[in-house]
Symmetry: C2
Subunit: 332 residues, 2 copies
Amino acid sequence: MSKLRIGILGAGHIAHRWMSDARTVNEAEITCVAARELPRAQAFAERWDIPNAVGGYQALVEHPEVDAIYVATPHPMHYEHTLLAINAGKHVLCEKPAALNAVELGRMQACAKERGVFLMEAMWTRLFPAVQRAKELLAEGEIGELRGLRAQFCYDSPFDPASRLFNKALGGGALLDVGCYPIAFALDMFGCAPDQITGAAHIGDTGVDERNTISLRFPGGGVAMLASAVRMAMPIEAVLYGETGTLHVPDFYHPDRLLLERDGQTAVVFEQPYVPQGFAFELRHVCQCVNAGLLESPRMSHGDSMAVMRVMDTLRAQWGIVYPGEEASCPS
Amino acid sequence: MSKLRIGILGAGHIAHRWMSDARTVNEAEITCVAARELPRAQAFAERWDIPNAVGGYQALVEHPEVDAIYVATPHPMHYEHTLLAINAGKHVLCEKPAALNAVELGRMQACAKERGVFLMEAMWTRLFPAVQRAKELLAEGEIGELRGLRAQFCYDSPFDPASRLFNKALGGGALLDVGCYPIAFALDMFGCAPDQITGAAHIGDTGVDERNTISLRFPGGGVAMLASAVRMAMPIEAVLYGETGTLHVPDFYHPDRLLLERDGQTAVVFEQPYVPQGFAFELRHVCQCVNAGLLESPRMSHGDSMAVMRVMDTLRAQWGIVYPGEEASCPS
């Protein structure tokens, strides 16, 4: 099969991290990178040995050597940049969260379908072999009925009103930045969207949620307790509590093993060498999907992204967090 | 000081567990036990070497050799039995939850104040030296500002519609039975009532919450993630996440040690020999309070009980759980 030729839209921190893995994926070829200012794109291209660098995003999405775009700008720009790529007929892998809210996301997904291009939210953690194995173990009944799930994605960043994390205009706050991980994980493990969505959040001086805890209930009777924070240290971990056992995913951000606890015994049931960033699994998956002619990923479908977004919209409505520009089309 | 003479109201499971500790408390003397049927009270008295046994509760609260009543009946009866004791001029230690809702609790507290008797909810876990030491460590700044708290009190009981746990008429469900523990613990550690209270619950076939997760926010900006269940196995544990460290209370139901995690190092900062039931700390505290002429416990005051009850009322209103008899004076 031919290599998928990828253009990177945005040359910031996440693009660098992603690139360090992407270059190891044989199924893909990174052919172009774009930044608003050409020198920044050129520096990125030089650092990672990418043949083309362009200034401005229109030039990228129209580049003849690009089949798919990796959108790596801050989340308030995902909507605009994804639409730009879709309208140029390019496939899109868009960083998480794929949009600010369900209204934006719905338009992006409708547009992608209309143009017949692949669109996937870069919920790369779902592609880890350990996470996929956890789902299989559940399906195989290794812990019986899944009754409860706990997942936390928190870190403690020094308060800095200028930082993207705390800047409301840049979509700051814990929920959108990292809360989407435990939410996406919970929905993945329960295999459906929750029918009760509540949470509590501390809103800091800049108007964004610095830390939160989330309570979900799922149609089958399972419950989840989640937390996310940009200003609270808690271990990144997930635990699945089943009827007959407990499955631990010690670091579900970079999971390299699974532990099964049953009848008082704990055993490692999956192990994999540590993978530096983990984006390779995601990119390989995107290449496979596009090569197979799929328009959605079976592991992070349009519906999956929408379900996660609806949880976040519901929580933000409870917490009163409205981002600039959202006032007119307020979530939910 | 003279021994506090205690009468036990109710001769069921919890009364037996409590008694096994109470007999070790020198400051108290268990002088009488009552059950609805005299033979049951007599059997209890014989088992624990108690001088008096009576049939019916009126005889107990009027007994001349009784100064204080320990109310050990199921929670829907706490209101009636506590008022019975208060109206007979007796001090009361009432099992948790002290009432079904804040309306009942408010009347009980008002009545106790009016009659000038001591009234305390038997939130015995607050009296553990480890729990008191945890509060001190917080106050001493050992983990800096308290930002997050996680506490779970869950166990997996086989579903049995006839069991008290699942029987709505007997106040069944996880929240009232064990949810009050993590809630009371969180309010104790944050030192105030939460200003955001939300949760998700699975309501089982008998109409009670079999498992739940709870999200709280406190005025200072701290958040809590709690869980309780009568039909889901999760370890009973509590963890306090501070600005500069983490304090672990491994089994906050019977805490015998505290672990302080700071700068990547974990150290045991408190240890105490295991105490079989732990009710002795509570009873000794009640004796001290009564002897000091207090009408409320400084560790579980009327306001403390009311704050916990208001959290539970708020959650039940969200979950639509109304107990028989509550329809007229529905919580919140």
